[in-house]
């Protein structure tokens, strides 16, 4: 406990500056002397023991994820994989995160370090404790992603930490679902909770739990998630203690150290093959909040200097409305590109890479927001936009080396529209959820192959897409169609992946209240590499659709055009009510192509047309492929294709000017 003597030596951080600008840990953490960290390590592990322990730790972390899925029963966890367990070293450096949404563990590191610096004195860190936090200025992408963090003690010292994060259905704020795209600032949003002790010595603190659940429109659902998150940590803590008993603390710590060291040396190996340089990108966010139609410039620059990557955001506009991301959110967004493209051979361990990353972004901006900016759309809107920009600069860097070019994946999610839905369900109970159809996104093209169609998030490999039957079982919805849309994959020598289109109506309920929070609705947030971009997604609705007459005719609609009513398209920041006869359709964005589409094998284009992935119009306009339609199935008209491709080349030059000549 704090005494006057120790106050002098232990200050912690300036928490009110952290709460304003975002916590950035210093190299040396200021931890109260009453807390000691276990740092004895076996430096000379035999390779077999190391591999056994490496995979044992991975499996323990996977079991942690399984516990969360099973206890919560949350479709967000089960079908979205929108959670993440992690094992961290005694000082908060991440050892493993799981194959769920990659967005969370680099922020878990910030949460743990902040707890060590600012909670080690008062209320103290003791065995059996669990802290809860969702403060984006400490460590969270947005308030709905709630972190639980538990120290694991061994002989009185903190041996390691365990964390988990789970996206909650609702923890308050002006909109059901807790994405608040209409917010002017954070005071319209869920209350950010800096790390507080929710479990003390193994006992849940009822006062803290009630305070937390009291924020939510769905306290019973959030209570289940609370129990799941605590259970995950408690089960995993016992598993960690079990392997310490089996192998000894120093051996386990030695394997943790080597896991991170290996990831560091692999990262450096890759960077050494790449020339130094600077890569830049830029996009324009449409609208600062619901009702705003201005464009806001967001930029990213990445400099590679030897073994280090330095990120800057010069030219990014000031934080505004509801579209902002804190330092923590940007830091963690990096892992979504680094893990799949650079750490795939290291079980996605990213800590070695983070030792060589400097974030020198400007404070008070859309990509490094100051309090009290609106940040509740951080994970779904602002982070996804940054991930696009990060993919853009990183793929341009990776293409320069023969050793990394084929690991490159063009931006998989160049826009997004997340739908929060709420109302009364088919049993008359209140419901609220994030519609997980948002997982129906593709991958961008690669240097060696096409992007995958409707592949799911490349940075959430364990996150499946719910079947329509699962959504219909859990929510008052009736689906009409779901398919891989035509022309959404960007044309290229290697085509970008195409994306999902789906439509539903409310079923056995009067209405579903819907909030849309997204970006990239006008144009994608990235420009792919020497190919054309994927097409932007959309959210559209037909009011009073005459679905019953379709049912009476035993015909299932396959497009909104089949209803004899006007189609309304919604902005990426909007809210509306879908009443029982209204049909909503969502289209996920497509991903970009690699290489010039007029260099694509015409047979592949023909096959895409037959599958319905590419239209005849796009085949002609972008790929320069003309089909012979005389037979049962279309075939390539080789002469007409050659002529069309020559025409494209002529038009390109005739319709262009050289910018430098006009300067």
């Amino acid at each position: 406990m704090a005494t006057d003597d120790t106050t002098d030596e232990h200050q912690g951080t300036n928490v009110w500056e952290d709460f304003s600008e975002g916590y950035v840990p210093r190299d040396e953490l200021d931890i109260h002397p009453s807390v000691t960290l276990h740092d004895e390590t076996e430096g000379d592990l035999d390779p077999i023991t190391y591999e056994v322990l490496r995979h044992r730790l991975w499996t323990i972390n996977q079991d942690h994820g399984g516990t969360i899925e099973n206890v919560s029963g949350s479709p967000v966890a089960y079908y979205g994989g929108d959670f993440q367990p992690a094992i961290l070293k005694e000082d908060g450096e991440v050892v493993f995160n799981g194959p769920y949404v990659q967005l969370f563990s680099p922020v878990a590191e910030l949460v743990v370090k902040w707890i060590l610096e600012n909670r080690s004195d008062n209320p103290g860190i003791e065995p059996g404790d669990i802290f809860l936090s969702n403060d984006p200025w400490v460590g969270a992408t947005h308030q709905a992603d709630v972190f639980f963090a538990a120290p694991v003690f061994h002989e009185g010292e903190i041996f390691c930490w365990l964390t988990n994060t789970l996206h909650q259905y609702d923890i308050g704020g002006q909109n059901a679902g807790s994405f608040c795209p209409g917010a002017d600032d954070v005071f319209d949003e869920p209350v950010p909770i800096p790390p507080i002790k929710a479990v003390e010595g193994g006992e849940v603190r009822e006062d803290v739990r009630q305070m937390y659940l009291r924020h939510s429109r769905l306290p019973n659902m959030v209570r289940l998630d609370f129990n799941a998150q605590v259970a995950g940590l408690q089960v995993t803590r016992e598993n960690i203690k079990g392997i310490i008993d089996e192998y000894g603390a120093e051996t386990i710590k030695g394997s943790m150290d080597k896991i991170i060291e290996d990831s560091e040396s692999k990262f450096i190996d890759k960077l050494e093959k790449i020339p130094d340089g600077t890569w830049r990108t830029r996009t324009y966010e449409e609208g600062s909040k619901i009702g705003n139609d201005e464009l806001f410039e967001v930029t990213l620059q990445m400099e590679k200097d030897g073994n280090n990557l330095i990120f800057k955001n010069e030219g990014t506009e000031e934080n505004v409305g509801a579209i902002n991301l804190t330092y923590a959110g940007f830091r963690t967004a990096l892992s979504c590109a680094i893990n799949p493209m650079m750490m795939w051979d290291q079980l996605w361990v990213h800590s070695g890479a983070y030792r060589h990353i400097d974030i020198e972004t400007q404070s008070g901006t859309i990509s490094r927001a100051s309090h009290p900016s609106g940040v509740s759309c951080g994970a779904n809107l602002a982070a996804i936009l940054q991930i696009s920009l990060i993919y853009d600069v990183m793929t341009r860097m990776l293409v320069t080396s023969d050793d990394t070019r084929d690991d490159m994946i063009l931006d998989p999610v160049s826009g997004i529209s997340v739908l929060s839905q709420a109302g009364m369900d088919q049993w008359g109970n209140p419901f609220g959820t994030m519609n997980m159809d948002v997982m129906g996104v593709p991958w961008g093209a690669r240097s060696t192959r096409d992007g995958m169609d409707v592949a799911g998030y490349v940075y959430s490999p364990r996150g499946p897409l719910p079947n329509v039957e699962q959504n219909e079982q859990d929510y008052p919805m009736l689906y009409m169609y779901r398919y891989n849309a035509t022309d959404y994959g960007g044309p290229g020598e290697n085509r970008g992946g195409s994306s999902m289109q789906t439509a539903w109506k409310p079923h056995k309920t009067q209405a579903i209240q819907t909030v849309v929070a997204g970006s990239g609705g006008i144009k994608p947030n990235t420009s792919p590499m020497a190919g054309y971009p994927g097409a932007p997604g959309s959210v559209r609705m037909v009011e009073n659709a005459d679905f019953d007459s379709h049912l009476a005719d035993r015909s299932m609609p396959t497009s909104l055009d089949e209803f004899d009513s006007e189609v309304t398209e919604y902005h990426t920041k909007s809210e509306f009510v879908q009443t029982e006869p209204d049909v909503v359709e969502t289209q996920s964005p497509g991903a970009g192509g690699y290489g010039d589409p007029i260099n694509r094998d015409p047979e592949k284009v023909c096959s895409d047309v037959v599958k319905g992935t590419v239209s005849r119009e796009s085949a002609r306009k972008y790929y320069g492929v003309i089909l012979d339609e005389d037979g049962d199935e279309p075939t390539v008209d080789a002469d007409a294709t050659e002529r069309r491709r020559e025409e494209i080349v002529e038009n390109r030059l005739a319709e262009s000017t050289i910018p430098a000549e006009g300067e």
Partner: protein, 101 residues
């Protein structure tokens, strides 16, 4: 050294050239986009499903779609979206000194 799908940097010659036809596009420290053949158009030129911004946000914007081609063989080097008055972005700048080290 390949620095993009169809761009090569010759460190000795300090030049960026097209890998399809071999034409030198610019000096190594320059922005290849400014020395490419650039075609601009509405963003609906970016792909069949693209619609005018006014259909999405209810007002016109000054966003345009830019395509950059090799000035000799016309292979597609890059595309970008930008506001009409915004400068062409310098997306790739290789540190030439680091290559000679």
């Amino acid at each position: 050294m390949q620095i993009h799908r169809y761009l090569e940097l010759d460190a000795a010659a300090e030049a960026i050239s097209c890998t399809e036809c071999g034409t030198t596009i610019c000096n190594a420290e320059e922005n290849y986009r400014k020395h490419s053949a650039m075609r601009t158009g509405p963003i609906t030129e970016a792909g069949v499903p693209f619609v005018p911004p006014e259909d999405k946000i209810g007002r016109k914007t000054d966003l345009e779609f830019r395509e950059f081609f090799c000035p000799e063989c016309a292979v597609l080097l890059q595309t970008e979206f930008a506001k009409e008055d915004d400068p062409i972005i310098h997306d790739i700048e290789i540190d030439l000194d680091s290559l000679s080290e």
